[in-house]
Structure formats: C-alpha cells, structure tokens
C-alpha cells in the first residue's frame, strides 16, 4: 500500500469513528436533561418559560460537542489537510 491509500483508509475510519463515538455521550446527556426538564415542567408548569429557555441553552451547549465531532469528521472527509498535502506532493513529482 502506498501512503495515499493508507491516508485515505485512516481518514475514512477516523471520520466514522469520530462521529459514531462522539454522538453517544451527547445523546445520553440530552436524554437526561430533557427527561429532567419534563419532570420539572410537570411539577411546576408556572415556571415553564424559564425551564424551557434554560433547557434550550443547555441543549445547545451539549449539542455543540456533537457538532465539534461532526465538523472534525467533515474536515477529515471533505477538506483533509494530510490528503491535500499528499496530492500536492504527487502532482509536483
């Protein structure tokens, strides 16, 4: 295998592992926070606006971790710096 093939294989595997593993923890965390918010809403319907706003802000914070993983895997697939480096080296030769 030449270095191009190795880089392609490693990038694709890393991209899928990044998004797969990286979405487990945010999914669990979001489930927990939504369940807790629903409990709080059922107990105190009056405070619904505050709870909902805090829930949204918290969900955004949690979700950004998954989004980081998504951005990393997108970079690995569509804008891979190592891949571009190998391509420029190969074309220069």
């Amino acid at each position: 295998m030449d270095s191009m093939t190795i880089i392609a294989i490693v990038s694709i595997i890393c991209a899928s592992v990044t998004i797969a593993v990286g979405s487990i923890a945010p999914a669990l965390a979001e489930g927990r926070s939504v369940a807790t918010a629903l409990n709080a809403l059922a107990q105190q319907p009056d405070a619904s606006s505050t709870i909902t706003r805090t829930l949204f802000v918290g969900l955004a914070m949690i979700e950004s971790i998954a989004i980081y993983c998504l951005v990393i895997s997108m970079i690995l697939i569509f804008a891979n710096p190592f891949w571009n480096h190998v391509i420029t080296q190969a074309s220069a030769r």
């Binding site: 606006s49 949204f56 914070m61 950004s64 989004i67 951005v71 997108m74 804008a79």
Partner: protein
C-alpha cells in the same frame, strides 16, 4: 462537494474576491435595511396600524421580553445588538427556502465574525457597566486561581459560538446535498424542513447565549 459557500467565487479582480457568502450577506443586509425603512416610514400610535408595523412590534417586544427575562434590566440598551444578531441569523437561515440560495451562516467566516463581535460586545458592555477595574476584577472571582480558567473560557465560548452555528447550518445543507444523490425525490424536503427548524432554534440560541454572556459581564456586585 463544497464545504462552505466561501468557495463559490462570483467575481475576482486582483486581490479583491467576491464570494457567495459576501454577496448573500450584502443582499440580506440590503433587504433588511430597506424593509425596516419601508415599515418604519409611517408609524402610527393610534388608529389602525399597518400589518407590517404589527409584525415588527411583535418581534421587537418579543426580543425585549427575552432580554429582560435573562436578567438585563435595561433591554433597550442591548436591543440593537442582540436584535440585529437574531434577525440576521434568523433571516439568513429562513431564506434557505429560496432555490439556489446558500445561507451565509453556513460559512465559518460569517459565524466567526458574529462570534468575535459578541466577544468584543461582552467586554465593552462589561467595562461600561462596571468600569475598567471592576470588569477586570470579575476575572479574579471567586479566587485568583481561577484567572487562567476565566480567560480560557472567554475564548473557548467564542470559539464554541462560531462552531455551533457553522456546524448546524453546514450540516443541514450537507445532509440535503447528500440525500439528493441518494433519494432525490421526496426525502430532502423533510430534511429541509428540519433545517428550517434548526435554523430558527440556532438563531434563538446564538442571541440568547450572547445575552447570557453580556448579563454575566454586566452583573454588578450588589445583585
């Protein structure tokens, strides 16, 4: 496949490059400015108000209410900044229903610019409210050991703000693009609908986070 609308260059002359992001942003700014001018040309306080005035009043009072609920007691002072952030992001995400349109918020340069302006706004509002010494002292709370962490959090949350908006909008357009090659007939419409919903939620979250950050910076010691 393009990762961001930055790579679509419409016009180039020397070092001046006009890409799709800049042109779309200008078009949105133009539309928002002209729209605001047209609506506010004849405002009325009594009698029948026009439909557009009613709409704008709902939007403005809604934003004001939200700012107040987060804990800023003089919403009028922050309304211009936070309202502009919200309206720009919301409009640029909602316009995705126009065919051929690429949301400028799907480009990391736009979102970084918005996040950096939030970063400076937090510092400026904080200094204005507490004075320079009082604002700098807030980095030493609760103890001076927290100083490096406070500074790191200031930068990392700016970074997070930019990446969050970029990632959400970019992934929305990317998913539609990928689905168009797999199931081009019906399914992309639903993903587009989901993208509109995420776009509105992200506009709300971006502006509410900016409000929370400003509120944290301007909180006086008495409160």
């Amino acid at each position: 496949m393009r990762l961001s609308p930055d790579e679509l260059i419409l016009w180039q002359h020397g070092f001046v490059t006009l890409n799709s992001t800049i042109v779309t942003t200008w078009a949105l700014m133009f539309a928002m400015t002209v729209g605001a001018l047209l609506i506010t040309r004849n405002l009325k306080t009594e009698g029948d108000i026009s439909r557009w005035q009613g709409f704008v009043e709902i939007v403005v009072t809604g934003i004001q209410q939200q700012i107040k609920e987060v804990g800023l007691n003089h919403p009028a002072k922050y309304l211009a900044f936070i309202g502009t952030l919200f309206l720009f992001i919301a409009l640029s995400n909602l316009c995705a229903i126009i065919p051929g349109y690429e949301p400028p918020t799907g480009s990391l340069s736009t979102t970084s610019a918005l996040a950096i302006s939030v970063f400076f706004a937090v510092v400026l509002f904080g200094i204005e409210e507490q004075g320079l010494g009082g604002y700098l002292k807030s980095y030493l709370k609760p103890t001076f050991i927290m100083l490096p962490f406070n500074i790191i959090s200031e930068f990392s949350r700016t970074f997070a703000l930019a990446i969050r908006l970029f990632g959400n909008i970019m992934s929305g357009t990317m998913i539609v693009g990928i689905l168009l090659t797999i199931v081009p007939f019906f399914v992309p419409i639903f993903m587009d609908l989901l993208g509109l919903l995420t776009g509105m939620v992200q506009a709300y979250i971006f502006s509410i986070l900016a409000t929370v950050y400003i509120a944290a910076a301007t909180r006086t010691r008495a409160a």
